[in-house]
Subunit: 191 residues, 2 copies
Amino acid sequence: MPATPRRTRSDALQNRERLLEVAAQAFAEQGLDTAPAAIAKQAGVGVGTLYRHFPTREVLIDAAYRRQLTQVCEKVNDLLAQHPAAEATRMWMEHFIHYATAKSGMSEALNAVIASGIDPYSDSRVLLTDAVATLLAAGARDGSLRTDVTPDNVLLLMGGIAYSVQHGTEEQARPLVDLFMDALTKDSSAS
Amino acid sequence: MPATPRRTRSDALQNRERLLEVAAQAFAEQGLDTAPAAIAKQAGVGVGTLYRHFPTREVLIDAAYRRQLTQVCEKVNDLLAQHPAAEATRMWMEHFIHYATAKSGMSEALNAVIASGIDPYSDSRVLLTDAVATLLAAGARDGSLRTDVTPDNVLLLMGGIAYSVQHGTEEQARPLVDLFMDALTKDSSAS
DNA sequence: AGTAATACCGGAACTTATTCCGTTTAAAGT
DNA sequence: ACTTTAAACGGAATAAGTTCCGGTATTACT
């Protein structure tokens, strides 16, 4: 048994970084169904290398969009600092939707991440879940949001909205966000 | 130019029917990712025949689940005949969810159909849209449902719920249905 | 019934995604 | 500096999905 926790090779790190860069650009320009082989080639590595770093399409997408997603999720803290929970939530959802419409491929990516309950522990999913959890917790504290909803519930429905937006415009998503917010802000003593 | 609108060959019809039967069973037993080749083989035809009748996976799924979906959608009329619109809607949603949890593969199929805004004119999608539209219209008539929501909006969110149910239990879906119904029954004069 | 036209059939060929494995090369120890 | 070790590499091999085309069987017509 090799008890040598040898550290990661430097070329491996570089290749990984390169792949991520290329993938992010390729996804944005040509959509999520860009051929893995093409990405590998442009990054100057073999497909084997790509698959070793990112075993499935999902993992690659997840990693490629992580940075952007991080930005979206960080917005939560800013918003909560300046607005009551319910309002912050609405604003965040709109921010989220805006992002989904603005960045080509983003909503596809979001859905790939959100809808894949298969792997609830992907980094991006954790990121999103935490963001929503923070909002819900704040809502519970100031009493502006109902307490019988889980972050997963919210994410799932937001994924649905993002998906619909993908084929429509930001304006078309508005009614859905309104609808959803109405539901979230309703007194939680129902039923 | 052959102006002979020759009628469809009888063996073609039989094959199509056979494929549908086999596909429905295979999907139910082994999930939606059953290999096309396997379905074709069990139906005793070549893959070419399968693809001619059902050009994409979606079309096949759509066709295979049509009958079951029809049943679910027909329930709308029964429910509306005996209950006010809002209550009928809630009951129908629960029926829908129940179906999604009971029939293995059903929620996958539902999502394949609903989430594929790509082809808004698939037969099953029309079926579902009509069902929801009927409910919403009834709600508008008796004033129990808000009027600023489209059937597509509703379907999309129901798809999300169905998807979450796929990985959970019927009970876990309840809060989401409640949430959604709260939103739908809320006064539509908002904002 | 016999024949011509053509819709349909089956599976081979092609394409694209994923896995596997012999070779290379950076890292750690001498 | 040199050797050892195994992590990482590239691309060939495999698997799965989809298209294409030569052959066959059904229909419509005589």
